[in-house]
Symmetry: C2
Subunit: 355 residues, 2 copies
């Protein structure tokens, strides 16, 4: 901080993403990347975009990709907004829909970027505690408020909220925007996209980073009523007109079109998740029920942080949050079966050895 910094940076701490270390042989289970390759059609489209046309600006309104997304989700193209990763879409959504004054509600245990957006943009918010078993207390989100945002499935717990409960929250106060952050929805939760037709106040955000194995491409999108999508476009055009490069537009359209490929890889990840959860439970690890591509798991005897460190020494990287209520837990991305076997063997050895 120095004298040149604006006042809005006073006391602000940005979000800290999971580490991206360059360690040879690392088993990387810390940022919920997909262990399987992206769709070959997406990679082919990316490579094919390397032409002389890169000298030209991309389509600022991303029409071709929005057409593909619209068809995939049974929506109209003008119900879709595309951004440079779902984090950008989230940031633009905070700017588009939330203000100082009546607080925005989100769970106390949730994606840790939400309070960063709130602090940085001067939006008041209130953390609503999850139940003792980390379930969303639905009725506490049904009171009138400045807005609601939550991930479904939640992160880092992995627990999904049934669609009927999502709808209760959306319907409870039609004067506020409810954002359902569905980064992990395709690993076993029910999407709220079907609510868009009936509720002009629900915004659903998805991403290419997890299910579609394209975290390296940076692409996310929001779906909702035209009135909400127009607000997001207005925010974009106040910050950066051309947010999505030509190559990403082409690769994303190919990825979203290749449904069969991703359905198959997701089934593999779900099978590995269930097998891993059972194996962890047999080691007396407390595992929350996950509908995502990760497990939130507490080793016995409060040894979470110790296990995190000892796994790291063995070049197995998981995510650990030194935060209230969850400091016993590790967030473990579902890797390949082979990677999970290495993890389970290491974990068994660590837990069998004294502290």
């Amino acid at each position: 901080m120095n004298k040149y910094w604006s006042r809005r940076l006073d006391g602000i701490e940005g979000y800290t993403p999971g580490e991206q270390p360059q360690i040879p042989g690392l088993i990387k289970l810390n940022t919920n990347e997909n262990p399987y390759d992206p769709s070959p059609k997406a990679l082919a489209a990316l490579a094919s975009a390397a032409t002389a046309d890169m000298r030209l600006y991309p389509d600022p309104d991303v029409h071709a990709l929005r057409d593909v997304l619209a068809e995939t989700h049974g929506l109209a193209p003008d119900q879709i907004f595309v951004g440079n990763g779902s984090d950008e879409v989230l940031a633009f959504s905070f700017l588009a829909f939330f203000d100082a004054g009546r607080p925005l509600l989100f769970p106390d245990i949730t994606y840790s970027f939400y309070p960063v957006y709130g602090d940085f943009f001067g939006i008041d918010y209130e953390r609503v505690p999850l139940d003792a078993d980390f379930q969303v207390p639905v009725s506490r989100f049904c009171r009138a408020s400045g807005g609601v945002i939550f991930p479904n499935p939640n992160a880092p717990t992995g627990i999904a909220l049934p669609l009927v409960d999502v709808e209760r929250i959306v319907a409870a106060d039609p004067d506020r925007v409810v954002i359902v952050d569905e980064a992990y929805v395709d690993f076993g939760a029910d999407s709220a996209v079907g609510l868009i037709r009936r509720y002009p106040n629900v915004l659903v955000i998805q991403t290419l980073s997890k299910y579609r194995a394209l975290a390296g491409l940076r692409l996310g999108w929001a779906m909702g009523d035209r009135g909400l999508v127009e607000a997001l476009a207005c925010v974009k055009n106040c910050i950066n007109s051309y947010t999505i490069d030509r190559a990403a537009q082409a690769a994303a359209a190919a990825a979203v079109s290749d449904r069969a490929y991703y359905e198959e890889t997701a089934q593999k990840i779900i099978a590995t998740r269930e097998r891993t959860a059972a194996a962890l439970r047999s080691l007396n690890v407390h595992v929350l029920p996950s509908s995502a591509n990760f497990l939130f798991a507490a080793p016995p005897d409060g040894r979470g942080e110790e296990v995190f460190q000892k796994l790291r020494e063995r070049k197995i990287l998981v995510r650990y949050f030194q935060k209230p209520r969850i400091s016993r837990f590790l967030r473990i991305t579902i890797g390949t079966d082979q990677e999970m076997d290495v993890l389970l063997t290491a974990l068994k050895e660590i837990l069998e050895s004294p502290r």
Copy 2:
């Protein structure tokens, strides 16, 4: 605008980028794209990035590219911030360095995104009129203020400010940040990068979109003292941790490294610009002295808007701004020699025919 929109969108109008129409046979001289291909090495790097590694997040801090940029500019990597196009870097800079209160100064005729950032982020600003011949009135930027931003060369005039004048503005008030937006600097102006060593309050912003013929890739960067770069990183980490995808990071590094290629294409563009300016003047068009890859040119007898429309009917697209002081002018991107010949022939015919 509907009831869900935040108060910060009240009365806000976003920036309108130049058209990107899909018209077969169009001669597109409206958004200052480079008429020559990007570096073949950059395109090869882009294609080579289409691997399974796209499933992994990119380096959020863009180290490899920052190393290349640092070497190119004679700076340290921590003096460089990279963003998703220089528009994003500009937006983040407004958030990082400027506040409500003492006004930010910029020219009255300048890049039209600056007032949009100011309005949207609640930053007070004051437009300082250019002289009658569209020169920057240097002394009027030397009084103390909340900050200064200007393009050099200026847009849409194309007129460059000598480095000694840039330094006067930077040195005049060491307590404010001065941003020099050098999108077009490589077509004939002097860069302010050399001032960074001596002035902790100067920030220089460049882009791949013009000189490096990669408008389709979305990449820009800021250069300045570490204290300024840290503020930009803080803003980024409050909005979007991973702004630059893997493919863009790789392609950009290759482009920046391929200096010889771009020096040659820039020389061609400069030669075409000078030839075109002379030809326009011979048609009684008033042409401002340009150090950019475009010409700002006023057809005789105030026929600017008419000529814009008639060129468009002939599938030649230039940029026209219906704005005070410049409504007589057209901004004409320098294309290939062949494209400029078509333009000149059309212009001659239009000017020789009655209105």
